[in-house]
């Protein structure tokens, strides 16, 4: 039951952040069914419409350290979810949950974000 609730919550959050994505372009390149966590240092952020642009410096064993560009929901919907530009700045460490690229390349669609102060916009915690 717990697993079901967790699964439902993740799905709901995903939908929350992605409900209007399809109005802007096809979402087929993102795998919303298998979201993953990514930690990184904010190199650039642009709260914009139709999509948030977030570039993180990410390090992992497979590909080393590099800058990765992520896409997120519109500025308007980010604001409605409680994400504001003063919640983190360049150089901060943040954790994001993303729907990764289906083709395995770097990047993805941000479905949730944890700020340096620990505030969560969307559901970052949960099973990968």
């Amino acid at each position: 039951m717990k697993t079901f609730i967790k699964f439902t919550a993740v799905i709901a959050t995903t939908l929350l952040f992605s409900v209007s994505l399809y109005a802007h372009h096809s979402a087929a390149q993102f795998d919303f069914g298998n979201t993953v966590l990514v930690e990184g240092k904010v190199m650039e952020v642009r709260f914009a419409n139709p999509h948030l642009r977030l570039i993180l410096e990410v390090t992992d064993d497979a590909r080393g350290t590099r800058d990765i560009e992520f896409e997120g929901h519109s500025r308007n919907n980010m604001r409605r979810q409680g994400l504001m530009p003063d919640m983190f700045i360049e150089g901060d460490a943040v954790t994001i949950r993303i729907a990764p690229m289906r083709n395995g390349e770097d990047g993805g669609y941000v479905t949730a974000l944890r700020t340096p102060s620990g505030e969560e916009i969307g559901r970052v915690s949960g099973a990968d």
Partner: protein
């Protein structure tokens, strides 16, 4: 005596005219009283609290494309599917009927005046104007646009909107040719159990070139109270990127945010 007759005739004429004008005035007051005010912010219809969903985005209706239209649509999908390419991603609004049928995820605002009704869809700040009565002009005197040209009139408590001068669109979930025309019928529907107002619109899109049959559907919204419909700046990042490249090329520092 003839003078008296003439005066009587004149008086009678004035009286009849006054009665007629008074009647017209009463009639117009009565008609105006029937007209609902759609002014306000509206979001996707979710039905009554606790109910298992409800018809929200797109109720009924199925697109039956002609072979010509199906090929045009498929060509578009084949070059864009799985990519970031799309009208919205280029800050271009959906156009009719997508702007209307897709509204609600981002709220919609209506501002109603006797001679014109404005509909503002938050996403991409798409604005439609329904010109009423003398405000409406010959649609053929306007350039075709993605949202077309809309004239409207009241039939009792329903606002009838006729839209033509649409552009051919393959980049829409509701593709159509430039021969398409759309009829919308707006009315206040049954409120939710908590009294929340519900707005509905019956839509019929006909297209002799791209549709085998008219698209017929109903869209519903529910009122939002104490709510801000936001502006939707979208194209600025493109300009900022362009500026940044120019500054970089010139070896100068860009200070604009």
């Amino acid at each position: 005596m003839p003078k008296t007759k003439s005066l009587i005739r004149f008086g009678a004429h004035i009286a009849i005219t006054s009665i007629a004008l008074f009647g017209m005035l009463l009639s117009s007051i009565a008609t105006a009283a029937e007209r609902p005010d759609f002014t306000g912010a509206w979001t996707t219809y979710r039905g009554n609290p606790g109910a298992a969903g409800g018809p929200s985005r797109f109720m009924g209706g199925e697109l039956k494309l002609t072979p010509e239209a199906a090929k045009a649509r498929q060509d578009f999908i084949s070059i864009t599917e799985g990519t970031n390419h799309g009208a919205g991603n280029s800050c271009v609004g959906g156009g009719m009927p997508g702007s209307m049928l897709g509204s609600g995820g981002y709220p919609m605002e209506i501002i109603q005046r006797p001679e014109q009704v404005f509909v503002i869809y938050e996403a991409h700040t798409e604005i439609r104007r329904f010109y009423i009565g003398n405000e409406a002009e010959n649609p053929d005197s306007f350039f075709p646009e993605r949202n077309g040209y809309s004239s409207a009139h009241w039939e009792g408590d329903r606002l009838i909107v006729e839209t033509t001068r649409l552009k051919t669109q393959v980049d829409s979930r509701y593709p159509h040719s430039n021969q398409a025309s759309i009829r919308e019928e707006y009315y206040i529907d049954e409120p939710l159990t908590d009294g929340t107002r519900v707005l509905a619109a019956d839509l019929t899109m006909t297209d002799p070139v791209w549709l085998e049959e008219p698209l017929v559907t109903t869209k519903r919204w529910q009122a939002l109270s104490d709510y801000h419909v936001l502006t939707y700046e979208c194209s600025e990042p493109v300009w900022l990127d362009e500026m940044e490249a120019l500054y970089e090329e010139a070896g100068l520092e860009m200070v604009q945010e």
